[in-house]
């Protein structure tokens, strides 16, 4: 009788451990949270119990990207669906929206001004000094150098 009780308890313990492992090791998404609108393009995916993120603009993931640890990626503005893959399991599908940002950074490198497109859309950059206006296109992340003067540099999304 005593042995039978021990065996039952042992069975319950094993079942409990397996159930705990099943729940605890399920792949999870932590950040970005569901439905989040992100305006800062420098953000990090945070996940648990997984080594792979599947990212797509399509909820069916017909065309998807696979991201692994250490990957860096520049995403254009838009709504993205994502899930994480664990061992034999996948997480639920979540989405986030990356809002378009026009950003400029000016660095003084001594001899020249370096203007960088720090947003996530390609920009029409217009340099205005007095009556003179010069236009150029600066892609996302790209920098261009200009002579140091009192110009105004104006950046708007290209058409």
């Amino acid at each position: 009788m005593k042995t039978k009780i021990i065996l039952i308890l042992e069975g319950i313990l094993l079942f409990g451990i397996l159930a705990f492992l099943f729940v605890y090791t399920s792949p999870k998404q932590i950040f970005p949270i569901q439905g989040m609108v992100i305006s800062n393009q420098d953000f990090l995916f945070e996940i648990e119990n997984s080594q792979e993120i599947i990212l797509s603009t399509d909820i069916e993931f017909a065309n998807a990207l696979s991201l692994k640890e250490g990957d860096e990626i520049t995403l254009p503005p838009g709504t993205y669906f994502w899930k994480v893959k664990g061992v034999m399991r996948e997480s639920e599908i979540r989405n986030f929206t990356l809002e378009s940002t026009a950003g400029l950074k000016l660095k003084d490198n001594g001899e020249l001004y370096e203007i960088q497109n720090s947003g996530n859309v390609d920009l029409n950059l217009t340099k205005t000094i007095g009556e003179i206006r010069l236009g150029t296109i600066v892609d996302v992340g790209e920098s261009k150098e200009f002579e140091k003067d009192n110009s105004t540099y104006e950046g708007g999304q290209i058409q």
Binding site: T3, L65, E69, L75, K107, F146
Partner: protein, 402 residues
Amino acid sequence: MKNKFYLCIIGLVFGILILQSVLAIGITPARTSVDFEPGLHREVNFSILNSEHKEMSVTFSVKGELAQYITMDKEFADFSSSEESKSFSYTVDLPASFDKPGKYEGEIVALETSKNMKESGTFVGATLAVITQFHVYVPYPDEYLETELKVVSSEQGSNVLFLIPVTNRGKKDISQVDVVVDVYSPSGEKISSVSAGPESLKKLERKELSATWSANVPSGRYTANATISYNGNKIQIGKEFDVGEILLEIKEVVVKDFQLGEIAKFDVLIQNKWSHPVNNTFINILVYNAQGGILAEFKTPNQDFLPLQELKLPAYWDTAGISEGLYEGKLVLNYGEKKKAERSIQLRVADYELEVLGLTGKVVVKNKGVLNVTNVLIAVVVLLIISNIVWFVLLKKRKNKK
């Protein structure tokens, strides 16, 4: 207890800033688009980003053909260094009609000005301004397709995602839209084609077509040419994109004929391992004193690299007043339009010899590894389960013997 890791997005991510950033401003969203409605009244929100956490003032102005229909809620705003972003709004009151179909534009310009300018009324130096656009689309009488090509790529060997948003700006439906994306190698040779669609588009409808390409190709700058076909019309769009990581390797740093107290010439041998030219490359070398302060900083001239080219770049350090010893240092490689990478080094300085240590290997930015705690935990639990099963079996055998 958690197996967490982080994937860097970049966007952004442009590495470690070496140069002093003096001005920065961002605005989001970059554009708001609406389809025309007679007499439309709308309040549109936007935010100014103070990414450098600086004290600044922002002046707003409105321009463009829609300027007369746009009213700002504020014309001026101050930011403290603790304010990363602030929200503002403008109101749009559209007329009953526009003369012609097409796109009408208004622009809200946010001009960054220093607080000094506000106080003194004068400012010497450049100023930055960013624009949030308001676009109104008046439908064309027939079908009219507006499209663009976006390319999302990450590491070499993984998929490249082509996104082709298509919008019917016309009053007639488009029965079928097809997209073919041709991929060209850095040498201009067509290496692959992928397709998306077909899709139909009702009037004013927007859809996003996408296609993936498996980029099992060497690192380099590739070109995608998309052909979008609809109702007998064709639109072609091209875009360059990178596969893999632009990688420059510092092969060695040699200081010949060194004499302490004189000017030391560093010859830095760099190889472009990228199958595409990499422009505007230079190296900053920093030497630290015992307290961790910067003892010296010097750089090589800027240099453009051809594909796979290997070049020596010189840098000069005046060692007057420097003593013999081992100095900590840093080597910062700046290359391409947006890449920076750094590596810690040591400089062993003697009377007639200067040796740079710690340079083997590539200078690349990599994420730190994270200990996989969950796997360790799983292993422990599995061991416990096994030991329980063994114990269970032994108990059963003992019972059977009895």
